[in-house]
């Protein structure tokens, strides 16, 4: 064996030995805080539930934040502020203008930058004592075990069922507490998973994500379609940071900490905005943490999350009876305005944001709940063309199908791509929201 090969073999052996050793804790546990740390963290150390021992625990701990969007930004801001020793950030996306109202780590100058880079540069300006690790990719089952392993707490700040199941499984397999949050419109939800007691080191009877949601949803709304208020998603992100801090600091004062809350529903429009829900406990039938788990450290790579979370297409597919935005433009130019109707089926909130000047507003739900007036029905059935438009062309397709099925043969066309295509291809002055 050559000298080179011999050394390489020794390196591999030593690295393996090193990774099997527990981390050197004595130094970190016993180390006194630096003078600047006393000053910086003094206010929170005064709180009995944290104290100096809790602060030292925060400093030697690590938290992985998956998703640096509306949840991740406020969570990271406060975790970094609190002095967590190491923060990992996973996100494959770049900053865009529509992120800025709620993704509080980004400024106009960060537009186009990778979120992980922009976030770390901002966090470092505020607290450079912390180790930041960037993972600029979308988490997949190939990478997840490697990335997540070794972190003390994981925050799920992602926005798809697939990533939520993936993180739920990987954290349960690795026995890491998971704080999962989500938000839409005026509401948010928070779940503390894999831990039923703050100060415990194991899951006990706590459910994992798959225990609570054994079957993936058959329908999902995204923030980009249904909307989101910044402070609503921000509230959920802050609660995630708080739960992470509590889980880490509980070991310093176990007598002050009890059971984790399970699930919290926040509805900002309710007269009871915060509600704690008693969730189910660990399920013996769970595929990840039940009595006969099929998703394990060994089989995890083979599990197909895309297939499992396949969201069925709820929109009817209509191939004929369509018109492009360019064709619509020539209709506007060439046809007399009494030869057609342009019908906008978006909801009133969206119609108020912007609409084409010559459009008639009939929201989709009026069709689907069969609340059309006799006048509207007569209008749809008369000899004029009906051009149906919405934001992206999906709701309008549903409306065209409804009209064709319920009002018989009418000259009704779906504007493909909707108003978004109109702004991109025909009129750049028409707002995109």
């Amino acid at each position: 064996m050559s000298r080179r090969a011999e050394i390489e073999r020794q390196i591999v052996k030593l690295e393996r030995e090193l990774s099997s050793l527990p981390p050197d804790q004595d130094h970190a546990v016993n180390a006194e805080l630096s003078l600047t740390e006393y000053t910086r963290y003094g206010r929170q150390m005064l709180v009995r539930e944290l104290g100096k021992r809790g602060q030292i625990l925060l400093r030697k701990s690590s938290v992985l934040v998956v998703g640096a969007g509306g949840l991740g930004c406020p969570a990271l801001l406060y975790l970094s502020g609190a002095g967590i020793g190491k923060l990992g950030i996973v996100d494959h996306d770049v900053v865009s203008l529509s992120n800025l109202p709620r993704q509080t780590l980004y400024s106009v100058s960060a537009i186009g930058m990778l979120k992980v880079d922009a976030a770390i540069s901002e966090l470092r300006r505020r607290n450079s004592e912390i180790e930041y690790v960037a993972y600029p990719f979308a988490l997949t089952s190939d990478e997840a075990l490697r990335v997540v392993d070794g972190y003390d707490v994981v925050l799920d700040c992602t926005d798809t069922p697939m990533s939520r199941y993936l993180l739920g499984d990987v954290t349960r397999i690795l026995n890491i507490p998971l704080i999962s949050a989500s938000a839409l419109r005026t509401e948010a939800q928070l779940l503390v998973l894999n831990r039923s007691q703050y100060a415990s080191t194991g899951p006990g009877d706590a459910p994992c994500y798959r225990c609570v949601f054994p079957t993936p949803p058959s329908h999902v709304d995204a923030c980009s379609d249904a909307g989101i208020l910044g402070p609503v998603v921000g509230t959920a992100g802050l609660l995630q940071a708080l739960e992470a801090i509590k889980i880490i600091a509980a070991a310093a004062h176990p007598e002050l900490y009890g059971a984790t809350p399970g699930m919290l529903l926040f509805n900002s429009m309710s007269d009871r905005p915060f509600r704690t829900i008693r969730t189910r406990r660990r399920q013996s039938s769970c595929k990840t943490c039940g009595d006969n788990p099929s998703i394990t450290k060994r089989t995890f790579n083979e599990y197909n999350y895309t297939e499992f979370c396949h969201i069925s297409e709820t929109y009817p597919v209509v191939t004929s009876d369509t018109i492009t935005v360019s064709e619509l433009e020539s209709v506007f130019k060439n046809a007399e305005s009494d030869q057609y109707y342009l019908i906008d089926v978006r909801d009133s909130t969206q119609f108020e944001i912007c609409s084409l000047a010559n459009s008639i507003h009939i929201p989709l739900h009026i069709f689907l709940s069969e609340k059309l007036t006799g006048e509207q029905i007569a209008m749809l059935k008369d000899e004029r063309m009906n051009y149906i438009i919405c934001r992206y062309g999906n709701d309008s397709r549903t409306a065209v199908k409804w009209i064709t099925e319920n009002l018989g043969a009418t000259q009704t066309y779906n504007v493909t791509g909707g108003l978004a295509a109109w702004s991109r291809k025909i009129d750049p002055e028409f707002p995109e929201y």
């Binding site: 509306g70 949050a181 923030c223 249904a226």
Partner: protein, 103 residues
């Protein structure tokens, strides 16, 4: 015996029920039954109270609540109470919450 109860919707489900977040309901058991279960309530909501025709956004396979909707009986996951079989008591608060995924 009729039972008065409160039904609440959240996570966008209210859109299917004419935008109403809260319904005060008096449930009458059908002829053969002495009481009403969650399954009866779900059927009643679909047949009598839903204003949107897109039933598949609330139930699948006839009258089973679709995956992705949490059913909470007096602030407890319905799994703890017997799911569809739970017998509704006077004054119960039943919340149907669509799980959110945005972030």
């Amino acid at each position: 015996m009729t039972v008065p109860l409160t039904v609440e919707f959240s996570g966008g489900l209210e859109i299917l029920f004419g935008g109403e977040r809260t319904l005060n309901i008096t449930l009458r058991p059908s002829d053969k039954q002495a009481s009403s279960t969650i399954a009866d309530l779900v059927k009643y909501l679909c047949d009598e109270r839903m204003t949107d025709k897109r039933k598949e956004l609330f139930v699948i396979e006839e009258y089973h609540v679709r995956p992705g909707i949490l059913v909470l009986i007096n602030d407890a996951d319905w799994e703890l109470e017997g799911e569809e079989e739970y017998v509704i008591q006077s004054g119960d608060q039943i919340l149907f919450a669509s799980t959110l995924h945005g972030g």
